[in-house]
């Protein structure tokens, strides 16, 4: 039995990624606390969830490529590089802020 419990988080997109998410930079979400196997949800799980549930755009490869967040996108957990926090395995906590930044190159 999957739990009905949800956790509130804020997901933000910047650097052009917001275009893939209905042109909204900030999304307040209530995500399930447990995945289909009953494990606590992680940022890795969130990436798939965003792709399947939140992104209306068909260009999934602009966000996820070969099963990973596309090169050129930084993932920040509460304003810190997710590599400092355990990357995809980081377990989401209530009120976490997950920011996806697409690198810019113009000048």
């Amino acid at each position: 039995m999957a739990s009905e419990e949800t956790i509130p988080i804020i997901v933000e997109f910047t650097g052009g990624l917001e275009m893939l998410f209905s042109d909204e930079r900030k999304h307040r979400l209530a995500v399930p606390a447990k995945d289909s196997k009953g494990n606590a949800v992680t940022v890795g799980w969130l990436v798939d969830y965003l792709c399947e549930e939140i992104m209306k755009d068909n260009r999934k490869e602009m966000f996820v490529l070969d099963g990973h967040v596309r090169p050129g996108i930084l993932v920040l957990i509460n304003d810190a590089d997710w590599e400092l926090e355990g990357e995809a395995s980081y377990a989401l906590q209530p009120n976490d802020n997950i920011l996806f930044v697409s690198t810019l190159h113009g000048g």
């Binding site: 052009g16 275009m19 260009r59 590089d81 113009g106």
Partner: protein, 449 residues
């Protein structure tokens, strides 16, 4: 009487010729004046070449006046000002970032300033390149070398140059201040600070530590395609100058023995967000980084031998070549169709984004943006007609697609065919070379942007 008329005619001709000559002279004067003002501005940058100090005081009297307000800021002081004067800064890229960065780096009293750029200045860039004026359009920019400088500012506009500059800075132990901008967003990172040798984990991360893999070439959007706001990129360039001043005046150009890197951070600027500035914490040097770790494969020899192909590494976008020649028509051919036929005989679909369509469009065309067609909507379920096809359009009426340059229109033409819109022997094709060709072949009054 006839003599008088002839003499009047002769005088009129003479006036016309003289006016022409005057106009030409005025234009020449404007060019000369513009050049001399640029030369003056450039002279002003070379403070190191000025008269030597008298010995009693370390700076020229003029310099105390000029930099006084900056020197009385506690974090600068006389020591900071002397460090600025002794420092040399290389700015790579003299565009929207490089121009304001150069102005403020020079204005702070940095002794030596180098500016490198491979591009020529285009008029479309002038709204954000504040050091240029029209007299410089078409002029080649300068060319210098990293080695001679203490600090590098990456003000370029492509991943290729960003990886290359970062690699050079790692190999030569130079701190690097990297900024970028697009639309209303900007990003700023101070890299390789402290600039410790490769293999020293205490050194600041490099561009490859933060972005080990380059983004797919098709995801890289230039200012020319995505747009840019002058003050946004200007803000980022000015912030680069500020970081440069901070590094120089705090004596951080060279790494000190046993120095540990402060947490690296990236500053994000979004003009339309609240708050507009946000600083995020980045990782330290990557243990297996290709450039800055002990086991990385980057060497000066490899770099200078040209064995590293940065263009290949970042990938290249080749011009789209999807449609067959018979699926494409010339702009002048479409003009003929317009003149001979009736607008209801066909449909012209402009796939540029709405913001571009609003600037100018061919009369009678309908706008269905590329992003809509590639993204969530724009195409109906199988067997149904998309809402943007007028009901009155006969089922065999041709559909022509047009965009700015003739790339996106090919992708959409193919997509519409795959979606079954080409059945009933309907012709689907695009206007070759897009609206660029429309201007060249049909309507030279077309406002190219």
């Amino acid at each position: 009487m006839e003599v008088a008329t002839q003499s009047a005619e002769a005088l009129k001709r003479q006036i016309a010729t003289t006016e022409e000559e005057l106009k030409r002279l005025k234009e020449q004067l404007a060019v000369v004046e513009a050049q001399s003002s640029i030369e003056k501005a450039v002279d002003g940058l070379e403070l190191g070449a000025g008269p030597v100090t008298t010995g009693k005081w370390p700076l020229e009297l003029e310099e105390y006046k000029r930099y006084g307000r900056q020197m009385i800021v506690p974090s600068i002081g006389i020591q900071g000002q002397l460090r600025l004067k002794a420092a040399s800064v290389l700015i790579v890229g003299a565009g929207g970032l490089g121009c304001p960065a150069a102005a403020y780096v020079a204005g702070a009293g940095v002794g030596t300033l180098g500016i490198v750029d491979g591009d020529t200045v285009e008029t479309s860039n002038l709204h954000r390149q504040i050091l240029h004026n029209t007299a410089k359009v078409g002029m080649k920019k300068v060319d210098k070398i990293v080695e001679k400088y203490d600090l590098v500012l990456d003000c370029t506009d492509h991943p290729t140059s960003r990886y290359l500059i970062s690699d050079i800075c790692i190999l030569l132990c130079k701190p690097l201040i990297s900024a970028s901008a697009l639309r209303t967003d900007g990003q700023l990172i101070v890299l390789n600070s402290p600039p410790l040798p490769t293999g020293d984990a205490s050194g600041g991360p490099c561009y490859r530590c933060v972005f080990p893999k380059p983004p797919p070439a098709e995801s890289v959007v230039s200012c020319g395609d995505g747009g840019i706001l002058g003050p946004v990129v200007g803000t980022m360039g000015v912030l680069q100058a500020l970081e440069a001043i901070k590094l120089i005046t705090s004596g951080k150009l060279l790494a000190r023995e046993g120095e540990k890197a402060d947490d690296a951070s990236m500053l994000l600027f979004s003009a339309n967000s609240n708050p507009p500035f946000r600083s995020v914490r980045l990782r330290a040097r990557r243990a297996k980084c290709f450039a800055c770790s002990a086991e990385g494969g980057l060497t000066l020899e490899g770099l200078s031998s040209g064995s590293l192909d940065y263009v290949l590494f970042c990938g290249v976008t080749t011009p789209v070549k999807i449609l067959e020649p018979e699926e494409r028509i010339e702009a002048r051919e479409y003009e003929r169709i317009l003149k001979e036929g009736n607008r209801r005989d066909h449909l012209l679909v402009d796939v540029r984004e709405k913001v571009q369509f609003d600037i100018c469009s061919i009369e009678g065309s309908v706008n269905v943006p590329f992003s809509t067609l590639q993204g969530s909507g724009g195409l109906a379920a199988e067997g149904e007609m998309p809402a943007w096809i007028p009901e009155a359009l006969p089922s065999d009426a041709p559909i022509y697609l047009v965009c700015r340059l003739g790339n996106d229109s090919q992708i959409i033409a193919r997509k519409l065919k795959e979606n079954g819109l080409g059945k009933d022997s309907r012709y689907i094709g695009d206007l070759k070379d897009g609206l660029k060709a429309w201007k060249e072949q049909v309507d030279n009054s077309w406002p190219e942007y």
